[in-house]
Symmetry: C2
Subunit: 269 residues, 2 copies
């Protein structure tokens, strides 16, 4: 089910700036019995993304209500929230009077097989290099052609994810997930100040690690550093925490830190 | 009037990848009595952009017919053609079976006052630096957040356009126009292989200059080089050719080469 600006609908104006320019942001969220998991982190990221793009962020209670309505009768669901700058006249300038478009939808959980989390996944390195744009880095905005092109580099179903490097060869993220790795006992994740998307799971995990007195280190790893890592894992809100079993001929089979975070994530609402 | 996949409509599916990811391309076109000006260049650019993003490009005759239908009774019109990858299921991978969405629309000419072309415009330099992405450079795709952010840097109506520099400080284009300048009698325009949008007017002008035996030189100018130029002008399909009268305290008042191209453009269909 889908609500657009609070009303049941499934189409948007063809003049919406979300379509014309990708002028908007989104979140993809797991719902259990109508309640979004990791909500605190999703909403904090959404608010921050809206602020950076000067979009009006909807009230938290409004979104929570609409997510519940959209997922009624679904025990477990995948939800998506999209906020665009709304319908505008021609031209890139942000219209002063545009009403944002708010699209909230949910569908039955399609999810991922549990075997991924158990046995780990095979990951490749993408050819595409992420471009550097500090003004957009970290934002889950609607300009996702780099992800589309990167994801189109392979169609081997045995490969679960592709890693994206920036122009300097620093590994930044996966095409649809954030990356974590363990080096000398320290949990690390790439910095996202030049490119990449800052996911809610990443935000939650960093906060939880910090609270536990073991802050996650933000780094700019080259690929060789990942191949030397003790463990590697991927994360996003739908996927949860999934170990990397293989990358560029290197294999891993023990994932103690990854297992810890898988358990922590199960405990988290 | 608007046609979506050939039928009168003004909304698209909220699941369209054009909205979800900016996964598509567009053109903005001037129509006179239902006929698109610079059509040969528009269609060539559209076809090339579609090829690079692996989108199916609609037949030329189909688009021409729909442009004529949309602008019936309009002597002069502004048209827009948008091609998206259509409705897809969740995930960045290009769906094998997606039907592209084709949006063709036209409205009465809103145009620009003729005084701009006569007296020239004032131009500023944007703070935002264009990111470098060779896989997307030149394509008029729907990922236009950089243009939106750059255009939001000023609201002084006396400033007509903002120049965009790349990370290395090379001037690339305007937020909604291509840039040309004359140096030692040579007409130059920035190369668009790392970033920027390759407009139909630019393509026409370069071809016309080449045919006349005076090819346009593609360069990577720093701002100082522009300030030393004999003339500067902007161009796009709706604006035509417009001289720059002022940039960063430097003023120009004679535009012989610009005037030549304004006349040539009037002769061109």
């Amino acid at each position: 089910m889908m609500l657009i600006n609070g009303l049941p609908a499934d189409t948007v104006s063809a003049a919406d700036r979300g379509l014309a320019y990708g002028d908007g942001v989104f979140r993809t969220i797991e719902l259990v019995a109508g309640r979004p998991r990791l909500w605190r982190w999703h909403y904090a990221r959404l608010r921050d993304d809206c602020r950076r793009l000067r979009l009006l962020c909807p009230d938290e209670s409004l979104l929570l209500g609409e997510l519940a309505v959209c997922s009624v009768n679904l025990e477990r669901a995948v939800a998506k929230v999209v906020i665009t700058r709304g319908v505008g006249k021609r031209g890139y300038a942000m219209p002063g009077d545009a009403m944002p478009t708010r699209i909230v939808s949910a569908a039955a959980w399609g999810g991922y097989p549990g075997t991924l989390a158990e046995h780990g996944v095979t990951v490749r390195v993408c050819e595409l290099r992420l471009s550097r744009q500090p003004l957009l880095a970290g934002i889950k905005h609607l300009n996702r052609l780099e992800n589309v092109l990167a994801r189109s580099e392979w169609d081997d179903p045995a490969i679960f994810e592709g890693l994206l490097l920036d122009e300097d060869g620093r590994v930044t993220e996966g095409t649809m997930s954030n990356l974590f790795y363990v080096r000398d006992g320290v949990l690390c994740t790439p910095k996202l100040d030049f490119c990449g998307v800052s996911g809610a799971l990443r935000a939650w995990l960093m906060a939880a690690a910090s609270e536990a007195g073991c802050p996650v280190s933000e780094t700019r790893p080259e690929l060789t550093e990942l191949l030397d890592a003790d463990e590697l894992f991927l994360g996003n809100s739908l996927l949860g925490v999934v170990p990397v079993a293989e990358l560029a001929q290197r294999r891993w089979s023990a994932f103690p830190v990854t297992r810890h975070w898988q358990r922590r994530r199960l405990d988290e609402n």
